[in-house]
């Protein structure tokens, strides 16, 4: 029996309305991302790569086309169902980390788990393990303002993987980091992909960062122009 791709996109289109004008962002995108694949979406500004990532992550809706994640057509889900689906299946890594500034590293990582039925003790075990995995076991009680950019992004990675999602979406995860921190973060994503087999889709405009991925997908003016598969 053939296993469904992690992400299956068919004839996907998305446009925005700006000042009464309809601006197409994505036109007729067809793409498969296999389970366990680490894919980099590249392209110039305005090419639609972040829009495609948002659609894959279920935080935006396409105008037309089919978008299946692990066999489920998420375009048919309503807002509430999409929220539940994201909580169970998607981990998010943002360019500016998007941590809750009033919560400690521990509490930020624990946040997605509060939507599950795990007990307090189970949550604690998982959070401590995951923060240890990203090298922040000794910074659990620190608030984001007390952490460096690289450390904050590591907290964000821990938050993204804490629920063991099928898919991790990363939008310019190294865009706000210095070279060394960026390299550390990319290495960590690579390790997650290799060791846990998590499917990762990363948007980046940094060619160096894109090399970390096993596959590159180029977008230009809303169209998929080349799709070399890295082996």
């Amino acid at each position: 029996m053939q296993v469904a791709p992690a992400v299956e996109i068919r004839h996907l289109a998305k446009s925005y309305r700006r000042g009464g004008q309809v601006v197409p962002v994505l036109t007729d995108i067809t793409l498969d991302i296999q389970r366990g694949e680490f894919t980099a979406l590249m392209g110039p500004s305005g090419s639609g790569k972040s829009t495609l990532l948002n659609l894959i992550a279920g935080i935006d809706k396409p105008d037309s086309g089919v978008l299946r994640v692990a066999g489920l057509d998420i375009t048919t889900l309503n807002e509430g169902e999409l929220a539940d689906w994201r909580a169970r299946n998607v981990g998010f890594i943002f360019q500016f980390y998007n941590l809750m500034p009033v919560l400690s590293a521990y509490e930020n990582v624990e946040l997605p788990l509060t939507l599950t039925n795990l007990s307090r003790a189970e949550r604690r075990d998982r959070v401590e393990f995951t923060l240890g995995m990203v090298g922040l076991a000794d910074r659990m009680d620190h608030h984001p303002s007390e952490l460096s950019g690289g450390q904050q992004q590591r907290v964000a990675i821990a938050r993204a993987v804490i629920t063991d999602p099928q898919l991790i979406v990363a939008d310019e995860p190294t865009g706000d980091l210095d070279r060394q921190s960026a390299a550390d973060i990319l290495a960590m994503l690579q390790r997650l992909n290799a060791e846990l087999g998590t499917t990762i889709v990363m948007v980046t405009h940094d060619a160096q960062a894109a090399k970390t991925a096993r596959r590159l997908v180029h977008l230009e003016k809303g169209e998929l122009i080349v799709e070399p598969r890295v082996t």
């Binding site: 943002f94 997605p112 939507l115």
Partner: protein, 384 residues
């Protein structure tokens, strides 16, 4: 648990802003409570009025007196138990600012006012002394009067220098009774009037009519007034409550203004609170979008804002509630001559709490709805 943590920590994010909002709420709830207490104080006399006492006065105006010959005829009305006389004296103690009410009353006056407690010995001493006076405890405390003291009054209606000897001090049966007045013998005033040529003797300001059952008040009033229909001095008999309210009605515009101001104070703090919550929600748009991306629903986002708003209102409103009785006590110390009864009622406390809660909920409605509806993609682009 996480929601509570987020609510409390978000509330403390901008300490100065939250502090100022809490202070504003404190002042508003306190001001509202004090203004409502002022209104209550205005009605205190009416609230303490007895249902078994009627007041018979001239139907033209209180400024007109009634002949004491009416007394016997009123006594003859079925349901009437006692009839006492009372005349407003209007004397000045040293300075006009030292205002307190004085009444020339008949000896049986206190029989109708069981809520004023006077030792028998002092009542006997008063009955024996033509110039004797009885004073209430609040009045005695205010000026330090004690039994045996002479109170000099300068008559404004009954012009001349008057001297009264304190023969007794009466207490109120409870804290709601006003005891800031002085009683002296109606006969003493009448003797003085009899010696004057203006023929003002043998008159009384009002008759206080005791009845045997409150439900007979309307019937007795009608019968009493019927006795004097088409006479030179027609009467108007009403319950003591109605009589007191007629005085309050003279200040209706002032009371209405105070009431309006008390509501305006709440409206102002509502606007301030709504602004605070709107600013907070706008600054955290990206955070709310992140929470939604992580799977938290719009209800959770709304809960955070309502919770924060209510938490701020609970602290500010709670402080206001706590401070109101203390402020009222201080106000009574300085303005006791105007409002002898100035106590924060339970109804006022409940109204204050409701105002604070209403402000908390109302101020958060628009920001909460906007935050709950924020589109994730747009919210993530927002700069706080």
């Amino acid at each position: 648990m996480h929601a509570l943590k987020l609510i409390l920590r978000n509330a403390l994010r901008h300490k100065i802003r939250t502090g100022l909002t809490v202070f504003g709420l404190f002042v508003a709830v306190l001001a509202y409570g004090l203004l409502q207490t002022v209104i209550d104080a205005w009605y205190a006399g009416a609230a303490a009025a007895s249902k078994t006492r009627l007041i018979t006065r001239s139907s033209i105006s209180l400024a007109f007196t009634l002949p004491i010959s009416y007394e016997a005829r009123i006594k003859g009305v079925e349901g009437v138990t006692t009839v006492a006389r009372s005349t407003w004296f209007g004397g000045i103690y040293k300075e006009p600012k030292n205002f307190f009410p004085q009444f020339a009353v008949s000896g049986n006056y206190l029989d109708l006012y069981g809520e004023f407690l006077l030792p028998d010995a002092e009542r006997q001493a008063w009955m024996r002394d033509r110039r004797g006076a009885l004073i209430g405890r609040q009045l005695a405390n205010q000026y330090g009067f004690k039994v045996g003291d002479v109170i000099p009054l300068r008559g404004s209606i009954y012009q001349g220098e008057w001297q009264f000897v304190v023969r007794g001090i009466f207490d109120g049966a409870d804290d709601t009774k006003i005891t800031r007045h002085m009683l002296f013998h109606w006969e003493y005033l009448n003797e003085w009037l009899a010696q004057r040529p203006a023929r003002r003797a043998n008159q009384t300001g009002v008759f206080i009519v005791g009845i045997d059952a409150p439900e007979r008040a309307a019937d007795v009033s009608r019968k009493v007034d019927g006795l004097f229909e088409n006479s030179v001095a027609e009467t108007l008999t009403e319950t003591e409550t109605a009589f007191q309210l007629a005085f309050v009605a003279m200040s209706n515009e002032i009371i209405a203004a105070i009431r309006v101001v008390s509501y305006v104070v709440i409206l102002i703090i509502l606007a301030v609170m709504a602004n605070t919550m709107a600013m907070s929600a706008r600054e955290r748009t990206a955070e709310y979008a992140t929470l939604k991306a992580l799977g938290f629903g719009p209800g959770f986002i709304a809960l955070l804002l309502f919770g924060e708003s209510l938490a701020i209102c609970a602290v500010g409103g709670g402080a206001g509630l706590w401070a109101t009785p203390h402020a009222a006590a201080a106000f009574k110390q300085t303005a006791g001559s105007i409002f002898p009864i100035f106590a924060v009622s339970q109804a006022t406390v409940i109204a204050q709490a409701l105002c604070a809660a209403t402000v908390g909920v109302t101020a958060a409605i628009v920001p909460a709805v906007q935050a709950a509806r924020v589109r994730i993609v747009e919210g993530l682009r927002a700069v706080g």
